[in-house]
């Protein structure tokens, strides 16, 4: 088992290196450079940037040096924790990153807190009695919530809970201090989709296990039903859903962009989006690195969990 994880870790390291080279090349392209130049020199748009100004800016920034030399330099700076400075907000990128990541972590914490118990319970209940009325209700609800794109869920929830009933504020900017109420809408938006998705996966795994021979044996042996479920079925049925929960961390990073932009929540996704639009390359670069690191680590964790939970892989 340790071998497998170590091999995956080496693979991941290789991927990270390739990705960082790719990212450096992307941000080194004229499109992003011009955007950054405009942002820094304070012009009105790329159209108003004169060629002389641009070349002077390139010279000043030392961007005319060979590509690989600058890549090595950049890699060294990143390895030392120096992520640069935001042009738009004039603070160190590390500070900006810390604040927005903390905000998104709060959101992610509550999402997982709701997602894991609700989705696993509903999925197991539906998969236990395939074809029963409860199964039908849960399955239909899950298909519907996974079919509504998050942007539409956000809209519908805002209309009902904020504009109609007035229970929670419509925007989550939280300009005067932290509170839980503005968090409700983004949370529900993320939860509705994720619960539906995880319920479907759990249900599929559970029905497959329930149809297997060893469960039939356990039932025919005369074991009480709760014992069959708890001791025999669950252990195998939950392998896939548990690994999916780790992968969900990766999915959340994509989902928070839409949700945070819609509700104006000052989190990681919104920072990433703003930086891309403004041409704040240092921020965008750092945020991308963090996002990919999270994605890679979540994949590694998911692999490790799968190996740990599934004895068939462990003893191979």
């Amino acid at each position: 088992m340790r071998n497998l994880v170590v091999r995956r870790a080496i693979q991941m390291l290789l991927i990270m290196l390739t990705v960082s080279l790719l990212l450096f090349a992307i941000f080194d392209s004229d499109q992003f450079r011009e955007k950054a130049a405009v942002a820094e020199l304070g012009g009105f748009g790329i159209a108003t940037l004169s060629a002389d100004d641009y070349h002077e800016w390139l010279q000043k920034k030392g961007l005319n040096e060979p590509f690989l030399a600058r890549y090595a330099q950049w890699l060294k700076a990143v390895a030392h924790g120096d992520l640069g400075r935001s042009v738009e907000k004039d603070v160190a990128v590390a500070t900006l990153l810390k604040e927005s990541l903390a905000n998104t972590a709060i959101l992610a914490f509550f999402v997982l807190l709701g997602l894991i118990p609700i989705a696993l319970t509903l999925g197991v209940l539906a998969g236990m009695n395939e074809g029963s009325r409860l199964d039908r209700v849960i399955s239909v609800a899950a298909v519907i919530t996974t079919s509504i794109p998050q942007i539409a869920t956000a809209v519908l929830l805002t209309v009902i809970l904020a504009l109609g009933l007035g229970w929670v504020p419509a925007k989550s900017a939280m300009t005067d201090g932290w509170s839980f109420r503005p968090l409700v809408l983004p949370l529900l938006t993320l939860l509705l989709y994720d619960i539906g998705y995880l319920v479907r996966m759990t249900r599929a795994a559970m029905t497959e296990v329930m149809a297997s021979q060893y469960i039939r044996t356990a039932v025919l042996k005369g074991l009480p039903p709760w014992r069959v479920i708890m001791k025999h079925a669950l252990r195998n049925a939950l392998v896939v859903p548990v690994t999916l929960i780790f992968l969900e961390l990766n999915g959340l990073l994509s989902q928070v962009v839409v949700v945070e932009v819609f509700f104006q929540y000052a989190g990681f996704g919104r920072m990433l989006f703003d930086a891309a639009n403004f041409g704040d390359i240092q921020v965008l670069q750092a945020a991308t690195l963090v996002a990919i690191a999270v994605a890679v680590v979540s994949q590694l964790l998911s692999d490790a969990a799968y190996t740990f939970l599934n004895p068939r892989v462990r003893f191979k």
């Binding site: 499109q31 992003f32 539409a152 519908l156 504009l163 996002a291 990919i292």
Partner: protein, 322 residues
């Protein structure tokens, strides 16, 4: 039968794609272009209902998708108001102003919401279907190469796929669309970058499994060219799981396009589009009184995606039953 369905799909997709992507270049031909697609959609609906009749879920999905397809091809011929012309702003649904009836109300610039919603499905359907097809061709091609040829080909293709998969999807979209510029064609590239690696993995797995089967060995012994074996022997035999995945993926692509337009990264105004309608209403008219402007496009896009997902569910159910 198969050729007939392919012909029908071509009859719907080609005029629709031409109409949406190159309307200015078509000139006087444009108003007549979509006429042959209308009977084609109806015929396709009939065939689809017949072949999925065992699954009620799938028939419901087919109905939803075909409804929007029909709206996309008939929009120019329906008695609708001009979707881009400001008439009277903030008219409530069912209200009459300046002698014009607004069934679903008008938006903050005075454009008819019903007409914008029906016209809006054209862009989503055309770009969504095109982007998914391109992703499929690229993904299935590389998947066949990796799975059938194996060895270094497999290592290289799989590694490239893993690199692309390590990007969170939304981040990939933001990077690609900022790098290449914001247009429908670049959405196709962005969707291909995010979807093709997943399709590649599925096809690779299926091809690895099929490679050791007797019919492949027979073809190899006959001395067939590897490309011919992949195309004629392998691909038709891994079709089943791919159809289900394609339906799901059409749904994902629709979500992606709507979301990107909402974020201002995808298709550009002023043509009607569901993501754009949500974006405009969410910034200019976020009040209970005007919530119809948000609800109508949100429900429309959800119903289209629900349709794709139900077809996938129904197909999977039927394949398990056999």
């Amino acid at each position: 039968m198969k050729a007939g369905i392919a012909l029908l799909l071509a009859l719907i997709w080609l005029p629709l794609a031409g109409y949406v992507m190159f309307r200015p270049a078509l000139g006087a031909l444009a108003p007549y272009l979509l006429l042959p697609s209308i009977p084609a959609v109806i015929l396709l609906y009939g065939i689809a209902v017949r072949s999925w009749r065992e699954s009620r879920v799938a028939v419901f999905g087919v109905t939803l998708v075909c409804f929007w397809l029909l709206m996309a091809v008939t929009a120019p011929y329906l008695p609708l108001l001009d979707p881009n012309k400001p008439i009277a702003p903030f008219v409530a649904p069912g209200g009459i102003k300046h002698g014009v009836l607004f069934l679903l109300g008008s938006d903050m610039r005075g454009r008819d919401v019903l007409s914008r919603t029906l016209w809006g499905c054209q862009r989503v359907l055309v770009w969504g279907i095109t982007a998914t097809s391109v992703a499929y061709v690229v993904g299935a091609g590389f998947g066949l190469i990796a799975g059938y040829l194996g060895g270094w080909w497999d290592e290289f293709v799989s590694f490239a796929g893993n690199v692309l998969l390590s990007f969170p999807v939304m981040l990939l979209f933001i990077l690609v669309l900022n790098l290449l510029g914001q247009s429908g064609f670049n959405i196709i590239i962005a969707v291909t970058c995010s979807s093709a690696p997943v399709i590649m993995r599925i096809v690779r797995g299926l091809a690895l499994d099929a490679r050791s089967r007797d019919y492949i060995l027979a073809a190899q012994t006959r001395g067939e060219h590897p490309l011919w074996i992949m195309w004629v022997e392998l691909l038709p035999n891994v079709r089943g799981p791919l159809i289900i995945d394609a339906c799901l993926r059409l749904g994902y692509t629709t979500v992606a396009i709507t979301t990107l337009t909402f974020l201002g990264l995808g298709l550009q105004p002023p043509d009607p589009d569901w993501g754009l309608m949500i974006k405009e209403a969410a910034t200019a008219a976020l009040l209970w009184k005007y919530s119809y402007m948000l609800i109508v496009p949100a429900v429309s896009v959800s119903s289209l995606i629900l349709g794709f997902n139900l077809i996938a569910d129904g197909t999977r159910e039927m394949s398990l039953r056999d």
